[in-house]
Each structure stands twice: as structure tokens, then as C-alpha cells.
């Protein structure tokens, strides 16, 4: 192994960010004590802990979910090791990667949270403004910087925006949470489901190539979802921060602070109409530009990266471990920098053990030239800047750590929010269902089919869309229904959603019992295989059916519904008691929920 030679590896210099503030640790510990002594009221305490990334656990006053902000999803080996240590000591011996690139520790005793914060602070991580009515983690495409189709690397801008707003007074008491998503290109992007979405762009102005962004405003998923709209053709770099500030200010001023269920910015935009909102933003931007002090700007730290791997790296390895080819196909993509590859680590619904966190830290040090990993919105982890010739060795290390599952970049990589495993709002165990689907798909080799590669499955445990079900090819959100006079866990299925700059929301299709979801997915895949045109992908076939242009036995969504509804029939509870029990449970399903924590 040593013969691979450390010396020919380039090490990219990355600036280490420190997002933490030591004084916030002791403050948190003190406030918890005051709360325990009943010197601080429930509501005041709740707002405080949410502002500091501490969310209540399902039905449990004494346990918390600690959400760690990971701006752009960038996390170092040292931080991974600390997370492993903290999850062993204070959580459940593992962590969870969220769809917004956060890392969450679940079931932490409230009185231990300050100790978790203390450990995080030592490695520069914070939970500040990870929950509550604030600007949440700034998401950035994990492909940024290495994507062949990007105009430029959005990462320094995403980090600068995160840095500008973190602890900024203008963001401490918004009507509701507020989300920034940065894309790398048209395809790898969640820009249209955020309050502010930014796609890097270059425009020719007076014969000069000028950098900027295409900025989308007012998107978001939830019980009522909206796709963000483009503010203007091109926002030059100097106007990026003023545009962000203007938008946040407008929301702060005009957003609804009364009706909890309608106070995200997308409702404000929707209610007044985008054209009016657009005018207001542009006008507000003029005011921001005229009144902001000269010191208010984005601190951009550009980092130099090589344009290709060192030339001496030419000999491909002959090592070909079992399963390697499949993993290579479903988990790796070449970077724009020749000779370098992105290697995705498939997690199950974003779950990772402390042992695996430590293993990734070690693997990252050995294989990634940038010396950090990124969490992804598909709840996986990606190693970038891996030498192509190192892949077989990397694969062997991943196998040893139990992290070499295939399917990360395919339909098998099912997204599932935490559901009833920890969330108050959840009705069903979306988390477990996502794992069951992934396991079944990998077992059946569904990840190896090229036609299924670009389709996605995303599951939420309730209509609130943390699982982003509305932008999935096949999306699901949990509910409860009376079937045969008994309550059963069910999902509303949506079809045809997509991400990217041309994102669209899925169409509500039909309601199906939780225990029938896998059968129905397999049936849809079978129908697709029978009826696809040459080279047609599953997502394309679904779109065609939704347009009513089916040419085989399925003509349109009604036709598909007839087939699906037949499978969705549940036998009586007497014949099949298991159908009335949710995944991961042993007893009959009940739909229990409590107050949500998404809004402070």
C-alpha cells in the first residue's frame, strides 16, 4: 500500500473556519441551570435553546436533538473525530446527516448539551442559529469547485454569506426561519426550494467576464410549497450581499409574525405576487447600497486548487476487489480537474456510527487532497480530490469500515427525515422506511441500472417536507388513515418532482399504506422497464405519463393509479396485523404528534 507514495500527492491548502464562540458554551450551561431552577419560563427557554440549535426530542422534555451547523457541508477529520467522541459520550453513539448538510446528535440529555457545545467549540463548530427564527445553515452544492459545468466555485461565497449572517443582529428575530442554498450549476442545485437560491454565473460586460449569481427568491417546501423565482437575469458580485440583505430586511419587516403556519417568506411572496416582491427587493437593495457602511461586505477567501492531478500519476491500479466495479459506477464521478474523482459514501437515511465517523476521518486524511469531506443534501458524505488511481485502495478501506455500500448517486440512495425516530411532528417512521427501500434496492441491484440512476425517492414523516419529498421523482409524506376500520400508517405519494435550476414540484398521486410502499415502487419500476422508449430514464418516463403521453399499457397517471391502487389494498387487521404496524414498531399504529419545534 505504501508504494502508492504519499509524496506525489498534492495537498490543497484550505482555510480553517472557526464558527464557534467559547462564551456561548457557558451561557448555555447557565441558562439551562436557571431553567431547571424555574427562574426562566418555558417559552423564553425554548426560544433560547432553539437559537442555539437545540431542538426538543419526540415527546421528551429532558432529551434534545443538537443540530450542528455545517456551512457548505464542509467538515474536517478533526471535527469528525470530535463528533464521534461527543456522540459516544452524550448521544446514541452515532450521528445523523440532514438534507440541509447539518449533522445532528439525537437523544442528548438537555443538561449535557453545554458539554456537547464545549466539545464542538474546541474544533470550531457551532449550533448557533441552526434552529429557531434565524438564518439556518447555508447550503452549498457538494460539487462546488469540482463540477465540470459550474461557472466558478460557489463555496467561498456560500461561506462568506454564512459568516456574514451568523450572529448578525439583523437575523436574530425573523418572522420565521430563513434558508440560503448555493448551487454549482443548473443541475446540482436546490436553489429553487430555498428562500434565497444562488447559481454562479459569468456575464460579459463591456468585453469583460464578470462574476455574479442568478438569484432565486421565495421558494420552499412545506405543507404549501413554492418554487423560487428569478430576481433578475444576472446579479453582479457587488450586488450579491446587498440583495441578500435587502431580502432578509424585507422579510423581517413585512413577514407574518402571527400565523405560525404561514410565516415563511414564500407565503409573503406568494400573497403579494412575485412581481411586486421583486420590485420591493430591488428598491430595498438601493437603500441598502446607499446606507450600508463600507465595511459591510462579503469576506471572500479564494483558495487555489490544481487544474489536474500530478502527471506522474499515470499507472492505474490492477487491484479489483469484489464489488469495486459496481461501487465505482454508482458512487464516483470525475471532477473537472483531470485525474481527480469525487467518491460518495452511501449512508442509510443519513445515519452514521461513531466508529464510522472516525474511520472517515482517517480515510479523508489519507485520500482527499483537500483534507476535508462534505455532507450532501442526499444525506451522504463525499470525499473529493481523490486520485483516480487510489480508488481501489480507498474502496478497500471503506469496505473495512462498513461504508462501501453502492448506490449513492442512484435511486437507491433514498432520503428520509428522522420521522418518529425523534421528531414531534412526525406521524410515520419515514426514517426506517427509507432504509428499508435502500436495502431492498441494493439487494435487487436496482442501483446498477443506468435508466434508474437519475430518479430519486424522498420521504418525509409528515407534510412538512424535511425529507424534501416534493422534489423527488417518487416522493412520499406520512399520514394516518382509517383502513378497514383500523388506523394504518400511510403515505401520500407524489410523482414527477425534480431539483435543479428547472426544479418542479411533484404532483400528488395517491395514498398508499406504509407497508405497501416497496411493492408499489417495484411495480412502477417493472412497468417502466416494460414501457420505456429506448434510452428513456425512469424520471423521463414518469414525466411522460404525467403528461398523458404513455404509449404502452399505461397511458396517463389515472392508468397508473388503477394499477397502484390495486396493490395498495390492505387485507383486514385480522388477516394481516403487520399491515397496521409501522416500520420499526411492534405495536398497532397510533398517530401521535406534539408541538413542532421548527418555529421558535
Amino acid at each position: 500500500m505504501k508504494s502508492r507514495g504519499q509524496s506525489r500527492r498534492l495537498q490543497i491548502k484550505r482555510t480553517k473556519e472557526n464558527w464557534a464562540r467559547p462564551e456561548e458554551v457557558n451561557t448555555f450551561a447557565e441558562i439551562v441551570k436557571l431553567y431547571r431552577q424555574k427562574k426562566i419560563g418555558e417559552e423564553e427557554f425554548r426560544r433560547f435553546r432553539l437559537q442555539n440549535g437545540t431542538y426538543g426530542s419526540r415527546m421528551q422534555a429532558n432529551f434534545s436533538m443538537v443540530r450542528i451547523k455545517v456551512p457548505s457541508g464542509i467538515i474536517t477529520p478533526e471535527q469528525l473525530e470530535k463528533l464521534a467522541f461527543l456522540s459516544d459520550g452524550f448521544s446514541i453513539g452515532g450521528a445523523h446527516v440532514s438534507t440541509r448538510q447539518n449533522i445532528q446528535l439525537h437523544w442528548v440529555q438537555l443538561d449535557d448539551v453545554s458539554e456537547v457545545l464545549r466539545g464542538l467549540e474546541e474544533v470550531g463548530l457551532t449550533t448557533r442559529e441552526a434552529c429557531g427564527n434565524t438564518i439556518r445553515n447555508v447550503v452549498c452544492s457538494p460539487f462546488a469547485g469540482v463540477c465540470p459545468n459550474e461557472a466558478f466555485d460557489a463555496t467561498p461565497y456560500a461561506k462568506a454569506v454564512a459568516k456574514f449572517f451568523l450572529r448578525n443582529p439583523m437575523n436574530q428575530n425573523l418572522p420565521r426561519k430563513f434558508k440560503f442554498n448555493f448551487a454549482c450549476c443548473q443541475e446540482h442545485s436546490l436553489v429553487r426550494i430555498a428562500d434565497v437560491g444562488l447559481v454562479p454565473a459569468v456575464k460579459e460586460v463591456n468585453g469583460q467576464q464578470v462574476k455574479g449569481f442568478r438569484i432565486y427568491l421565495g421558494g420552499g417546501l412545506g405543507p404549501a410549497s413554492f418554487i423560487a423565482e428569478l430576481l433578475e437575469d444576472f446579479t453582479p458580485m457587488d450586488d450579491v450581499l446587498p440583495t441578500c440583505m435587502a431580502t432578509v430586511r424585507l422579510f423581517d419587516r413585512l413577514g407574518d409574525r402571527e400565523k405560525m403556519h404561514r410565516n415563511r417568506m414564500r407565503y409573503l411572496v406568494h400573497d403579494m405576487g412575485f412581481v411586486k416582491f421583486q420590485k420591493l427587493v430591488l428598491k430595498e437593495r438601493i437603500i441598502v447600497n446607499a446606507t450600508k457602511s463600507t465595511g459591510v461586505k462579503l469576506e471572500i477567501v479564494e483558495e487555489e486548487t490544481p487544474s489536474a492531478a500530478p502527471a506522474i500519476v499515470s499507472h492505474e491500479s490492477n487491484v479489483n476487489p469484489t464489488g469495486f466495479q459496481r461501487w465505482l459506477r454508482t458512487n464516483t464521478v470525475p471532477q473537472k480537474q483531470r485525474g481527480y474523482v469525487m467518491a460518495f459514501i452511501t449512508l442509510q437515511s443519513g445515519d452514521i456510527t461513531s466508529r464510522q465517523l472516525k474511520a472517515i476521518a482517517e480515510i479523508c486524511r489519507e485520500f482527499s487532497a483537500e483534507g476535508c469531506v462534505r455532507t450532501t443534501p442526499s444525506q451522504n458524505i463525499v470525499l473529493r480530490w481523490v486520485l483516480r488511481s487510489d480508488l481501489p485502495y480507498l474502496y478497500e478501506k471503506l469496505v473495512a469500515a462498513g461504508l462501501a455500500n453502492p448506490g449513492a448517486l442512484t435511486i437507491a440512495s433514498t432520503v428520509g427525515c428522522v420521522g418518529t425516530a425523534s421528531c414531534n411532528l412526525a406521524i410515520t417512521n419515514s426514517h426506517r422506511l427509507a432504509k428499508e427501500i435502500q436495502g431492498k434496492f441494493i439487494e435487487l441491484g436496482i442501483d446498477t441500472e443506468d435508466g434508474l440512476r437519475d430518479a430519486t425517492i424522498k420521504i418525509s414523516g409528515c407534510p412538512n417536507s424535511c425529507g424534501q419529498h416534493e422534489v423527488a421523482t417518487l416522493g412520499f409524506y406520512g399520514g394516518a388513515s382509517r383502513v378497514n376500520n383500523s388506523l394504518a400508517p400511510t403515505y401520500i405519494m407524489l410523482l414527477g418532482g425534480s431539483t435543479g435550476e428547472n426544479a418542479s414540484l411533484g404532483k400528488v398521486f395517491t395514498r398508499i399504506p406504509a407497508k405497501k410502499v416497496i411493492d408499489i415502487l417495484l411495480k412502477i419500476i417493472e412497468l417502466y422497464r416494460q414501457e420505456r422508449k429506448e434510452g428513456e430514464k425512469l424520471n423521463e418516463w414518469i414525466d411522460r405519463i404525467l403528461r398523458g403521453e404513455g404509449t404502452g399499457s399505461v397511458k396517463n397517471s389515472e392508468g397508473l393509479k388503477v394499477i397502484v391502487d390495486k396493490i395498495a389494498q390492505l387485507p383486514s387487521p385480522e388477516e394481516s396485523p403487520d399491515s397496521y404496524v409501522d416500520y420499526g414498531n411492534e405495536t398497532r399504529f397510533t398517530a401521535k404528534t406534539a408541538r413542532g419545534e421548527c418555529a421558535a
Binding site: 421528551q60 459520550g89 452515532g94 437523544w107 458539554e115 456510527t353 425516530a421 426514517h431 420499526g584
Partner: protein
């Protein structure tokens, strides 16, 4: 690795510190002032052990029937009433803690835990040896230290009593799944240091105080089966300055075998959050 002077800890009436640092132990070994006890399995001991260490696998202590037999196990390793005993393992200090506690229970007053595991000792490049070390049989008296043991009846009568705290030392998921009624959960790893079997006394004190346990309270620790993880918690609490600590040595295994009630945390599928 931060080196802690052994002189930092002399809580209570202890003649020797609860934790002894590797370099201090090296010195004590050189001066022949200490009996080092290796509680790993015999096979592991044969592969290499600390200089002068004698092998007393945990199982030999647990399987000895009756306290006289337990005393004999230690006597056979050349341990008399006065010698300073230092115990170590390679299992996070939990096995060592259980053996150290047993020594204290039979009335031995001079016992310490090595602050690191055997693998860390080796990693630090410190000396090891392979020879089978044998000592002349010694004489040890039996003065049972009843105060540090909690029997099942004692635990049962303590449930929900003011001034008493029952601490479940198992991992969080096990606790959520079931635990002795009213017990609080401090997983044993909460007390583990990043390179040491236990955190510093200051950190331990802060952790326990954060959980609202005052040192005027009596604390009973238990775990899943034979009191190893909770044995480590026993010493963590001692190190944090808590004097009134008892070990429920037979732990949940006995509790459940007697059909005594347990509590569970309802309304969540927490096991589904565990990976791989």
C-alpha cells in the same frame, strides 16, 4: 496528551490516587513499590503485559464463589493488605474498575487504576514484557466494606427515595429501551477521556453537577450485567469528589432475572436512528 500529576488527586482518605499516570507507574515499578494487575484474558496477557504485572483475569474474580475465595485469588497474586495495587485492562478501564472495586470491597485500601488502557501504554512506546510473572502467595485479611455495595434489595428500596440517585451507566439507546424505574442515564462513555479511561476531575465534577446531582446525595451505579461499566462510573464519581457512591454489582441482569419492573421511554423509534 496532557500529563496530570498524581498529586492532584487525593480525595478523602486515600493514600494513593484513584488514577495513576503511566510515567508515575513506571517509577513505582522501578522502585518495586507496586503490584501491577492485568485483568485481561490470559491469552492477551501472554502476548505481552506491563513490566512486573501479574495476571488476574476478571473472570477469575467474578467466578470465585464466596468472599474467602475472592480474597484467595488476590493472595495468589501476592497481594497483601498493604501493597499498592494498580489495575489495568484494554477495555476502556471498565474491567479494571470492577476488579479494583472488588479489592476495595474486601477491604484493600491501596488501589489505583492505570489512567490509560494497555493499547495506549503500548502506543506511548512504554515498556512491556512477555514473561509469566508469579509472586509468592501473600496473606490478605477480609474486612468487608459494605458501604460501597448496593444489593438488589437495597436498590429496590432506594427507588424514588429523596437523597438517592440511581445512575444507569449503559449506552443511551439501551437506557431508552428499558431501565430501572426512576434511574437517570449517564452513559459510561460520558466519563471517558479522549485518550484516558476517565476525564479530569474538574470535567467529571462539572458533568455530574450539570446533571443536578449534589455531593450530599447517595449515588448508586448500575449497568447491564456484572458491574464493569458501572464500576468505571463508580470511580468517575469518586474522582468528581462524590464520596457516597455504591455499585449495584449484579446490575440489570439480576434485576430482570428477578422479574422486577423496568421503565421504558415511549413514543419514539430511537433504535431506527442507529446506523450499520
Amino acid at each position: 496528551m496532557r500529563s496530570l500529576r498524581s498529586s492532584e488527586y487525593h480525595p478523602g482518605s486515600r493514600k494513593y490516587p484513584i488514577l495513576i499516570e503511566p510515567y508515575d507507574l513506571m517509577k513505582a515499578i522501578a522502585k518495586k513499590k507496586v503490584r501491577v494487575v492485568d485483568v485481561r484474558k490470559t491469552e492477551e496477557y501472554r502476548e505481552g503485559h506491563l513490566p512486573t504485572a501479574v495476571s488476574i483475569p476478571l473472570a477469575n474474580v467474578l467466578n470465585a464463589e464466596g468472599l474467602e475465595k475472592v480474597v484467595e485469588v488476590f493472595e495468589n497474586a501476592g497481594i497483601d493488605d498493604d501493597i499498592h495495587v494498580v489495575v489495568y485492562d484494554d477495555t476502556f478501564g471498565a474491567l479494571a474498575a470492577r476488579v479494583a472495586w472488588t479489592l476495595e470491597y474486601i477491604g484493600h485500601q491501596n488501589v489505583s487504576l492505570l489512567s490509560v488502557m494497555y493499547s495506549t501504554w503500548k502506543f506511548m512506546g512504554l515498556k512491556t514484557e512477555k514473561r509469566n510473572v508469579v509472586y509468592k502467595k501473600a496473606k490478605h485479611s477480609l474486612n468487608v466494606n459494605k458501604d460501597i455495595l448496593a444489593t438488589v434489595d437495597y436498590v429496590n428500596s432506594s427507588v424514588g427515595q429523596d437523597g438517592k440517585v440511581l445512575v444507569d451507566s449503559r449506552e443511551r439507546l439501551n437506557y431508552l429501551d428499558h431501565h430501572i424505574p426512576k434511574a437517570i442515564n449517564i452513559p459510561w462513555k460520558t466519563f471517558s477521556g479522549e485518550n484516558k479511561i476517565l476525564r479530569s476531575p474538574g470535567e467529571l465534577k462539572r458533568l455530574v453537577q450539570n446533571r443536578g446531582i449534589s455531593n450530599t446525595q447517595e449515588v448508586i451505579t448500575y449497568c447491564g450485567s456484572v458491574g464493569t461499566l458501572s464500576g468505571l462510573a463508580y470511580y468517575a464519581l469518586q474522582l468528581a469528589g462524590y464520596r457516597n457512591v455504591k455499585l449495584y454489582a449484579k446490575s440489570l441482569k439480576e434485576w430482570k432475572s428477578l422479574g422486577l419492573p423496568t421503565e421504558i421511554v415511549h413514543d419514539a423509534n430511537y433504535w431506527d436512528l442507529s446506523a450499520g
